[in-house]
């Protein structure tokens, strides 16, 4: 009886593999590095259905959280490089090595598409005694050790922004209160638990529009169209030009070794998906800058991003290991 069953299943499998031979011949797993409802999750779940149409296949998306995304990254890196397991992630893995979180990063992967980049900004509690970036710096210098900055752990966007501020303005004496994501931190900001939060524009924009918090500055080289009248940080201090534009990004990746034709197919599908008007509206509405780059261009972007950020954190004393240990060159060298 049991033998019969096994042979029946085997036969079915055989006929199934023979019937379809072209990629994708089965559903594709998309491993999302972050939890359901987060920004990575939302971006991926809104672009993938459009990409599926172009691909003519199904992508089953799963959230795999834990250890700042390292669990998902290791899982995909360890799976077969056949294009049936994709990693849908954000910028963090490029810092795993220097933060001592793992020995793998996106260098083990081929970027299918780097979809978009976010713009960091500084927001403050409405009762904070400063309204612009300049006033904030002056206030911190006049009152050392009193202003509370929100952060999201080492290697997160706030720590990078803080490292930039430190590099440009010199070390500031602030209290850094850690949260486990910019959502909870912005909640804390509105409740007065922290005074200033470096956050991605998309996460803060609705709160600013409603007047629940105030924007201090945009960490970019020019004013943002969503926040007219808020000066770019480079206008306040030209020193930031060295580091900007900088921002967290979202991308779809496949392990190195995936056949070229599969990569090409996936790349075309996601490029097509990212062109969808609904997706574009959605991303622009949240203040993301669409990138849609792939191939060598994406690889170059990734390594430049990693060099700049890793060294910035290292110089600020926030890293666990020197980028040089991993062959990450100092920018400009």
């Amino acid at each position: 009886m049991k033998r019969m069953l096994i042979s029946a299943v085997g036969a079915l499998a055989l006929s199934a593999t023979m019937a379809v031979a072209e990629y994708p011949e089965k559903e594709i797993q998309g491993i999302i590095q972050w939890g359901a409802g987060g920004s990575t999750d939302t971006v991926m779940r809104s672009v993938t259905p459009h990409a599926e149409k172009a691909l003519g296949g199904t992508v089953v998306m799963q959230n795999m959280t834990g250890a700042v995304g390292a669990i998902a990254l290791n899982h995909v890196a360890g799976s077969a490089a056949d294009g049936y397991t994709l990693l849908m992630g954000a910028e963090n893995p490029m810092l795993y090595k220097v933060m001592g979180l793992g020995d793998k990063d996106y260098n083990e992967f081929i970027p299918i598409n780097i979809l978009a980049r976010g713009t960091p900004m500084l927001v403050a509690n409405n009762d904070a005694p400063f309204n612009t970036y300049g006033e904030m710096i002056a206030h911190i210098k006049a009152n050392p050790g009193t202003v509370r900055f929100g952060s999201t752990g080492p290697g997160g966007l706030p720590s990078v922004v803080n490292a930039m501020i430190g590099a440009v303005e010199g070390e500031l004496d602030v209290i850094s209160v850690p949260y486990d994501g910019d959502g909870p931190a912005l909640t804390g900001l509105q409740g007065g638990a922290i005074d200033v939060m470096p956050a991605v524009l998309g996460a803060a924009i609705e709160g600013i529009r409603a007047g629940n918090m105030k924007a201090l500055t945009v960490f970019d080289t020019a004013e943002n169209k969503h926040l007219p009248g808020i000066e770019a940080v480079t206008a306040a201090n030209a020193g930031y030009n060295t580091y900007l534009p900088w921002g967290p990004f979202f991308g779809v990746f496949t392990p190195k070794g995936t056949p070229d034709d599969v990569v090409a197919k996936l790349g075309a599908a996601y490029a097509e998906g990212a062109k969808n008007q609904e997706f574009i509206d959605l991303m622009e509405g949240r203040g993301f800058t669409l990138m849609g780059i792939s191939g060598d261009e994406a690889s170059a972007f990734l390594s430049k991003w990693q060099q700049g950020t890793a060294w910035l954190l290292h110089d600020a004393g926030l890293s666990k290991a020197s980028p040089a240990d991993f062959g990450i060159a100092r920018p400009g060298e």
Binding site: M1, L12, A13, A16, V20, K26, Q62, G100, L318
Partner: protein, 191 residues
């Protein structure tokens, strides 16, 4: 003394725990002692948690683990002392009341399941587990056993795999291809 009603401390409800308030059950001392040792090890381990980005002060990642494992050691020690004071329940034996053969067997099955899940895949491992388990417990004919276990497995698989798209390890069964095959049939029929 009469045999205590097993219903009284069968532990099936968390609200009425299986322990006896005034007697020590077989193996209870060992369990309590293991808890003390394990807690002590955890305290030592918690002490080793280092804050990678600052001093190990009140706000370090070490503080709460250290506090909670210390509470574990203290409470486990007190439990051990209390347990040692109680008289042993002479009416019970380990093999009959705590770890009967069936329980040990099933615990072994579960461990085996965990080992086989990845290499063999969800469907074969579960089919094997259900068939053996139900055959063993129900002692009914093969036809009945096979149909009950395979039908329920199919139901569980349909709910989790198809409706909720939970991708259990597929192992030796080319699940995804089979599904794609049916999907192809469906869309072929529809268009």
């Amino acid at each position: 003394m009469e045999r205590i009603d097993p219903e009284h401390h069968d532990g099936t409800s968390d609200a009425t725990p299986g322990g006896e308030p005034d007697k020590r059950r077989p193996g209870e001392m060992v369990f309590a002692a293991v808890m003390v040792l394990a807690s002590a090890y955890l305290v030592w381990n918690a002490w080793g948690i280092e804050n990678p980005f600052g001093p190990n002060g009140l706000s370090s990642p070490r503080s709460i683990p250290l506090a909670t494992t210390s509470v574990m050691v203290i409470s486990a020690l007190l439990v051990l002392v209390n347990t040692a004071r109680l008289p042993l329940d002479q009416t019970e034996t380990i093999l009959r009341d705590i770890l009967p053969v069936t329980v040990m067997l099933f615990a072994a099955f579960l461990v085996l399941y965990g080992v086989l899940l990845k290499p063999l895949g969800f469907l074969p491992t579960s089919a094997l587990f259900l068939v053996i388990a139900i055959k063993l417990l129900a002692r009914r004919g093969w036809v009945w056993t096979l149909s009950v276990s395979l039908f329920s497995l199919l139901l569980i698989w349909l709910i989790f795999r198809i409706v909720f798209t939970v991708l259990m390890p597929s192992g030796i069964v080319p699940e995804a291809e089979v599904i794609q095959f049916f999907r192809g049939l469906m869309s072929g029929g529809a268009s």
